[in-house]
Amino acid sequence: MSETQQGVEAVPGHAGHSVDPQWSRDVRAAAMRPMLERPSGVWKAAVAVLSLVVLAGFAAWGYQLKHGLGSAGYNDQAFWAVYLVDVITFIGVSYGGAVISAILRLTGQSWRAPLTRLAEGMALVTVLIGGAFIFPHLGRPERFLNIVAYPNMSSPLVWDFLAIATYSVATMIFFYLPLIPDLAIVQRTLGSAEGGVRHAVYRFLSFGWLGSPRQRRLLHGALGIVALLIVPLAVSVHSVLSWAFAVTSRPGWSETVFPPYFVVAALYSGTALVIVTASAFRKGYRLQRFITQRHFVRLGYLMAALGLVYAYLTFADLLTDGYTGITSGWIRQTVVGAYAPAFWFYVVAGEVLPIVLVAMKRTRTVGGMTVASIGVVISLWIKRLVIVLPPVTQPLIAGKWGSYHFTWVSITITLAGTAAIPLLLMLLFRFVPVLSIDEMEEAGPIGSFEQVSTETERALAEGTIGTGVREPVGALAATDVRANAHSQRRWSLRRPRGATLALVVGALALGTAAAVGVGVGAKPAGAATLTPAATPAATPAATPAATPVTLAVAPVTAGKATLELRATVGTPMAPVAAGTVTFFVVPHEFAGSGLMQIGTASTDAQGVASVDYVPTWTGAEQFVAHVAGPNGSVAAATTATYDVTVDPPGLPKSIYEYQRPLSTTGHWLVVTLLTIVAIIWVLLLGSLTLVVVRMPRLGRQ
């Protein structure tokens, strides 16, 4: 591996590509300028200001930790507010960046090349910030890892955690893998002489990348898997985030439309932030030559299409509840009430304005698209506030609507998160090229804007797909080799992608089948049947009374639960017939409790009255019988105490059988979902490990 300064042509890059040397030189110069040159005064000033804002955010968080979440404007009728909106917004834009990049990559849109690094970098930075916003959201952030230590798998938040963690790792890998060739280029450009440590780090992180066809195959295979995984992962993240709302019973949240609603909002705002990011770095980092108006217009079209879908979902969400009016309080509050200004701001700045700007030819410019995107990003933050706050502040029983008031704490922390995006990106592009050099060299000056590389088309036409290329890096660029490399890449990309898809779909199908099977087969066991055997060990303690009364208790039928309380009034010689006897039992709980009436019966000719009683208490039970006198008085009373054994002691608690959610299909659903998560982790980390382990070896061959 030569480490001396070399010309562009000799730098490893594109086996099978005739890289236009001038193009390559220009791309490298532009991409690495922010890394190699001393930062300008403007850059330093911007970093200083942004850092101050971020530090202020941390200070505000410190204040909040000391004084409680109340200092951020929260109260019991506005228990979810700005921080959760921040979490959704930041993770949402991250999703947009990653998916835009992944989809363009998967569909072979070569014009994406100048945008991918910015989009993926933005995705990486925002997912970290969005994840970090969970901490100010929590009342006890220091206990965050309880989610790992004591997870409740029926809680949407545990799945949120799983989904966000998985997605964050995927985003990091998705950022890192396409970076490997660029790191090798940076390492060579730096040379070992300048910057020893820096050079060594880049050399380590590029893992012996030489750009040989086999290395390229390996990298693109891994990248294909990760790009394919990132799309469903991102869908899952925002679906689960939405279910944190939708699984509650709150009107306005308990909506079936929520998962796609959130997913599309994320894509929409993410595309917008890609445009804003590209616009800012294009100007600030002088990338006008590479990121052109055509890029902005194409992204603008995509954004407008997503905006229309989002408008449609918003309408669908409002219509159903509003039509029946059963739970429409939050709609009134949203459309004409306290949140109406925010809602209509979204409609104007987040839907009408961007679509008009995209639709009119005159505004279909870099500036026009940037303005439209800024409107979308801001109004989608506000829109999420409008999604969160009306249902949270609504009175569920009676009384007034609650309200959330912004405080300096919550505003500062939110601004800090916003400032962290440009800050982290500016710092990031001090260390990695701001453009994806390798992909741009591959795409070439024209390919950067053309959907299908003409070379690939030719290779397809010539039927050369499938021939392996074993030449080492050094072999330079004959046309047929180039074609082969291309076709080889296409083929090798497709296979792992297909296999991944099949694996995930298969696991899903298997799991669903298992879950359904269990759901049909497994019936919850019946409630414990009531078969206590009452065995009174009779030691009746008769109380002398004016009218002689005796009270005896016996099982109605041996082995059955019911006891018979039998009172005999009068003497055998002179029974009191047609008297009224009221039976009581003395409860054992609650201070101040009196006698609990069991029932009333009239005496028969023998002076006997009886009621049935199902005992509930194992131990001494005290029974009382009152013989009614005139005018509601008690003519006579007696007490008897029995030791009662209720066996088994467990009695039915209520007619309702408590069941955890998903308790019939839940085991299998949880196992299936966790299996899928595990497969995704294996694929993600496996792809990375494969690249890291095999890359140097392939380079040496």
Partner: protein, 343 residues
Amino acid sequence: MSWLIDLDPGEPGEHGVSAGAPPLGACSAGSSCAAGSPLAGGTCLVPEGGDDGDDDSSVSRRSFLRLLGLGAGAAVAGTGVGLVTYREYAAAATTNGTTKGGMVSGGAAASMADQASPPDHQWAMVIDLRSCNGCKSCTAACQKAHDLTPDQTWIDVFTMTSSTGKQYPFPRPCMQCENPPCLHVCPVHATFRQDQGVVLVNQTRCIGCRMCMAACPYQARYFNWNAGTVYPKTGQQADAEFPVPQRLGTVGKCTFCVGNLNNGLMSECAAGCPMGAIYNADIITDVAVNSMGNTVKLSTFLDENDAVTFKPSQNTHPRVWYILGHGQDLDADAGQDTPGASS
């Protein structure tokens, strides 16, 4: 240990973490039973003199910890601070404690010395709206007993409007749902349902995500938003059954005063109700009692008065029943609708 309790007894090991927990009977093998007495039912009672302030079912937890050899320090150095007194009664009561789901169920009152076997209870409540005048004495008694802020109305008295536009008071404690949405959504099992059917919050576990507040259809949960009104961040706190004082950044709610109930006393709100509108009840022994000493057979009382639960469409199966009315039983204005007495 809440993650032992909140597992439905019928479904052991649903969660990975619970797999390592020994059944309570297993503690007879551990040193902890030296302090108690292994009983026929596989149960052992351990004197509950001290606790590390973690949660309620320290028996199983300690056994577990000691088996692991981890909790020796905590158990030996138990400080005995902040425990509810009924625990001591529970320790004094002996023999056949019913066990379920791996914990000893609540103890019995010491006054029930003749009561050899503490029974199982399933606590419930009946609120007779015919007797409620909306004086909010229940709220005041609750807040005093639990050292709450005025905002933290664990039992709140809402002013409802009838179909004819008249207003009537409506006390709302925690419904102690048998199918509690708050429990299902809690990510860390901080909310759990102890085996007497009372839904409690382990404030030393709660991460303060407020998912439970979002899930509760009854607005029955209250967060500790502000420092100064609650317990400092560190230090001892009583267990989930008596979470006083509250902890900053965690959620609190009505505990049904389950400590009182297990101690043979009434809940603070029921005892504090001058109208006798609130009945403490036990489903197992089928009895309900109010502050006037009116003792009724729960099932009959519910049936004869057409008692209803609040928001049955939510499928929460509350343990709190309402007997509908607008203060008809009040002496002052019998037969009339009570104007909204709640301010």
